[in-house]
């Protein structure tokens, strides 16, 4: 079994008048050790909600409606660090107290814009030491040794631990946040839009860091992003989400070279490719906007924007089918 397996996860948000908005519906994927998964889609398609649901960090209005999040521990079942947790668990069935042994310890997340969330009046090193002391129950000296180790891992010189966040550039802050997420040696790192506000060169440095961490620590990575270029560079598998549902799920090579879902195809065309033989004079765009959660289309979520729809698309939601082993598509137009 895979390291992490999410099965049929659905998340609702409740509005003030009690209506349930379906933010995520029936999303499934699995993640093997030392592999990386790209979660792709436009703003508001449910990428971040899926991650928050998985970690049970949803805001008060959020409800997990159904699903399983099966996590298989790589460590010895009676490892003292985990306090003797069973090898395989469903994170959604755990008590909040048990859940804490997994969250941040086994699965860490760097939120979108987290590099702006560093406390401006505390030294960066002290901020990284905090979760180590909290989760590892170690003293300050051990914690600072670990901080130095972590900073080196992400390419920050130990002297910089004594500096404040404003003395760091955007790229350095992103590195510091990654160091903080790695503090408890997790198996899985979730990075939500880690490079969105960064320059291309700094983005390349951060992607390089992720690949390096993956090789060195055997880390599994879930990359949440709307940037297809970033995904193509470092991911092994890709899950394309649209309107809270899975549109297409396959290996990175299949998604980029044989995309079957019209949405995936359109996304590819909208992405600038400077190496394409004939540099197009204009980029393709996807007319229209993603559906708002309070007005989701009855049938296929992409139907209003789709260019190859038929009558059935407006009334019936397409099931996610395997067209080939490991290639899943939810589209009425795709058969076999």
């Amino acid at each position: 079994m895979a390291l992490l397996e999410v099965r049929n996860l659905s998340v609702d948000y409740l509005t003030d008048d009690g209506t349930a908005l379906h933010a995520v519906e029936d999303v499934s994927f699995s993640l093997e050790q030392a592999r990386s998964l790209g979660l792709v889609g436009e703003s508001g398609c449910g990428k971040t909600t899926t991650m928050l649901g998985m970690l049970r960090l949803l805001p008060a209005e959020g409800r997990i409606v159904s699903g399983e999040v099966r996590y298989r521990s790589l460590q010895n079942a009676h490892s003292p660090r985990l306090g003797g947790v069973p090898r395989e668990v469903d994170l959604l069935r755990l008590s909040e107290r048990e859940m804490r042994k997994y969250r941040w310890n086994r699965i860490a997340i760097v939120f979108q814009g987290a590099m702006n969330a560093l406390n401006p009046v505390r030294r960066v090193g002290d901020q990284i030491a905090e979760p180590i002391m909290l989760h590892g129950a170690v003293d300050r000296t051990t914690a600072s040794e670990r901080v130095v180790e972590l900073l080196e891992l992400v390419g920050i010189t130990p002297e910089m631990a004594r500096q404040y966040p404003h003395q760091y550039s955007g790229g350095m802050r992103q590195r510091a946040m990654t160091a903080m997420a790695l503090a408890c040696s997790p198996d899985i790192l979730i990075a939500d839009e880690p490079t969105t506000a960064l320059d291309v060169m700094i983005q390349a440095q951060i992607l390089d860091l992720f690949q390096h961490l993956q090789e060195q620590l055997g880390l599994s990575i879930i990359l949440v992003t709307h940037d297809l270029g970033v995904v193509a560079e470092i991911c092994d598998d890709v899950l394309v989400m649209y309107g809270g549902r899975t549109a297409e799920y396959a290996s990175v090579d299949t998604i980029y070279n044989e995309p079957l879902h019209p949405y995936t195809q359109r996304l590819m065309e909208a992405f600038p490719d400077i190496d394409s033989p004939a540099l197009k004079t204009s980029l393709a765009s996807i007319p229209g906007y993603p559906p708002p959660l309070d007005a989701l289309p009855a049938g296929c979520r992409f139907e209003p924007r789709c260019y190859c729809k038929s009558d059935i698309c407006a009334v019936e939601s397409p099931p996610l089918l395997a067209v080939k082993p490991g290639h899943y598509v939810a589209c009425h137009q795709v058969r076999d």
Partner: protein, 335 residues
């Protein structure tokens, strides 16, 4: 595309532009008569833009691209150098009325449509405001007509339905269109677009870039496109100027620069552009570190501490822009 650019008609001419910002010495430093130090934001930049041309200014943060644009717009006073817009000197215009007249002809679109719009102003009020500032309309009807035309041109159709809406009711792409409408309402000749799509989703980016391109095609608006992303610049600029630490290191027609980059910095920038295909993953030429502090500039070539091809000479001699082909100039000693 090319024939729309009238090469003979230069709309903007920038020569030897330098902009230094003084660094505070502090009380002690002042008392000790420590030498005053400066941030060299722009340090010897020259270029010209033809009427109807789209020029891309490309570089990392701290390369001086935004300061250059602010100089051009007369929003930041340059320390040295000359900027001619339609043969009129921009920095020399001290009289506020003359400046106002000039500003009407050049407008800027900022990066973040979430922050550049007043959340308490309706779309109509936002787009109509420049008309009031410049006293361009005499009647309410005229104002409504011009706002309508601007919203239409920015692709917000039908325009009336947007009049009473507030920014929070709009998507990111729509907000950026409102910003563009606010610039278009004055019928400017020059549009400075400072990272207009970097905060937007990929699917919407294309829309905005295509809109800018269309404005050039239909109205002949000259565009100065500022970005850190060579990939989007590749799609719709005629020429690109790559900047590093306040200087232009390479300038030329976009196709030439992309297919035959000569400066190691341009080569590195090109190599790190994500390729949207895993089969073509390539070796990224990742530069270590970041742009150095523009207070203490490296000696010789500014890029030499990060340059993979630096030789001894590079730390001593500062390279000048030299022609390497048709309209293609590079500042590198090894070229």
């Amino acid at each position: 595309m090319e024939q729309k650019v009238r090469r003979d008609e230069i709309i903007l001419q920038v020569s030897n532009l330098r902009t230094l910002f003084p660094v505070s010495r502090g009380v002690v430093g002042t008392l000790l008569f420590n030498p005053r130090r400066h941030v060299h934001a722009v340090d010897g930049v020259s270029f010209s833009v033809a009427k109807g041309e789209i020029l891309g200014l490309v570089g990392e943060s701290g390369s001086g691209k935004t300061t250059t644009a602010l100089n051009v717009l007369g929003l930041v006073e340059p320390t040295e150098g000359e900027i001619l817009f339609n043969d009129q000197s921009v920095p020399a215009l001290t009289h506020s009325r003359e400046r106002l007249g000039l500003r009407r002809q050049m407008q800027i679109i900022f990066q973040d449509p979430y922050e550049s719009l007043n959340p308490r102003q309706t779309v109509f009020a936002t787009v109509a405001e420049p008309l009031e500032v410049h006293r361009l309309v005499k009647s309410r009807e005229e104002k409504v007509e011009r706002v309508k035309a601007a919203l239409n041109a920015a692709g917000l159709k039908p325009p009336e339905t947007f009049f009473d809406r507030y920014p929070q009711e709009l998507s990111g792409g729509q907000r950026q269109r409102v910003v563009i409408a606010g610039a278009l309402v004055l019928n400017p000749q020059l549009l400075v677009a400072d990272e207009p799509v970097s905060m937007l989703d990929v699917s919407i980016r294309a829309d905005i870039l295509n809109l800018l391109h269309q404005l050039r095609e239909e109205r002949g608006i000259t565009i100065l496109y500022i970005t850190h992303d060579l990939a989007t610049a590749a799609y719709f600029t005629d020429r690109v100027a790559v900047m590093y630490l306040g200087r232009i290191v390479e300038i030329g027609p976009t196709k030439t620069v992309l297919s035959d980059p000569r400066h190691p910095y341009t080569q590195a920038l090109l190599s790190v552009i994500p390729v949207p295909n895993p089969r073509r993953r390539r070796k990224r030429m990742i530069l270590t570190g970041e742009i150095p502090n523009p207070i203490d500039l490296p000696s010789g070539c500014r890029f030499h501490p990060r340059c993979p091809a630096a030789s001894d000479q590079c730390s001593q001699t500062e390279p000048q822009l030299q022609s390497v082909g048709a309209n293609h100039r590079v500042a590198c000693l090894s070229v």
